[in-house]
């Protein structure tokens, strides 16, 4: 199961994700958490992917869905520290060209 911890850094909501973002589990958690944030008017969202081990196509699809939903609300979803398989998957799908992605948290926070 994927875990999702929530922190607030000024205006930015940071979701620390851990585990795998996969069909029927992680993708659902991700969708629900981002929905909650957007419903609460928090539309600047940083997804910390450091501890995410892998995603499948359903998880990747949900990442894109979150990106679009935040943008519709005038906000943004950005990524922190994708690594290993997750980094490979973002490259492979060319989503690295869609998402603003950061290695350094303070830099990521400043970017919003």
């Amino acid at each position: 199961m994927m875990k999702a911890g929530l922190r607030h850094a000024g205006e930015v909501a940071v979701l620390d994700l851990a585990g795998k973002i996969t069909i029927g589990e992680g993708d659902v958690v991700l969708r629900d958490k981002v929905h909650e944030l957007l419903d609460a008017g928090k539309n600047k969202i940083l997804l910390n992917l450091q501890a995410v081990t892998y995603m499948d196509s359903a998880g990747i699809g949900e990442l894109v869905a979150c990106y679009k939903r935040a943008r519709e609300k005038g906000g943004a979803v950005r990524l922190l520290n994708p690594s290993g398989k997750v980094f490979d998957l973002l490259q492979l799908t060319k989503l690295e060209q869609v998402f603003d992605t950061f290695r350094d948290e303070s830099e990521a926070l400043k970017s919003f």
Binding site: D56, G61, T93, L95, Q97, V98
Partner: protein
């Protein structure tokens, strides 16, 4: 490919069971001699083929099974994933990496399958369903 050891799995068309096949594929790939990262690649390819079989092939009908064979051999890892559906044309799917498609929330499964194994074959047997065959070869040194 001569199988050194093999596993057959039949799951009900239930996405919660995809993890079962993923885990089995990872283990069989390890037995075939792949290190952790490559075994995960093989398992992810199998995972996507199983998701497609459950969703598109069998329409998530729990009465229809997805049949998987996993083999570890001296040359590498081989998997077949068979559904009970009407088949499809794998060449017809749009390229999810094309600029206009990158924000689509679906359509990346075949891309992942092709990226994570060395050979992919699609076969349709009339009245039986679609079968996807995946092969990942062991290399003497390099990691894929």
């Amino acid at each position: 490919m001569a199988a050194e050891t093999s596993v057959q799995i039949a799951i009900a068309s239930d996405v919660r069971l995809v993890d079962v096949v993923h885990g089995a594929a990872e283990r069989v790939a390890e037995i075939a001699g792949f290190a952790e990262e490559d075994a995960l690649s093989a398992a992810l390819a199998v995972r996507e083929a199983v998701i497609n079989a459950v969703k598109h092939g069998n329409g998530c009908d729990p009465a229809l099974s997805v049949d998987v064979v996993l083999e570890a051999g001296r040359e590498g890892f081989r998997a077949t994933v068979r559904d009970r559906g009407r088949g499809f044309d794998p060449g017809a799917a749009p390229d999810p990496t094309a600029e206009g498609n990158r924000l689509r929330t679906h359509g990346r499964g075949l891309l992942l399958i092709r990226a994570f194994v060395d050979e992919v074959r699609f076969r349709y047997a009339e009245g039986q369903g679609m079968e996807v065959e995946l092969i990942k070869k062991r290399r003497a040194e390099s990691a894929a």
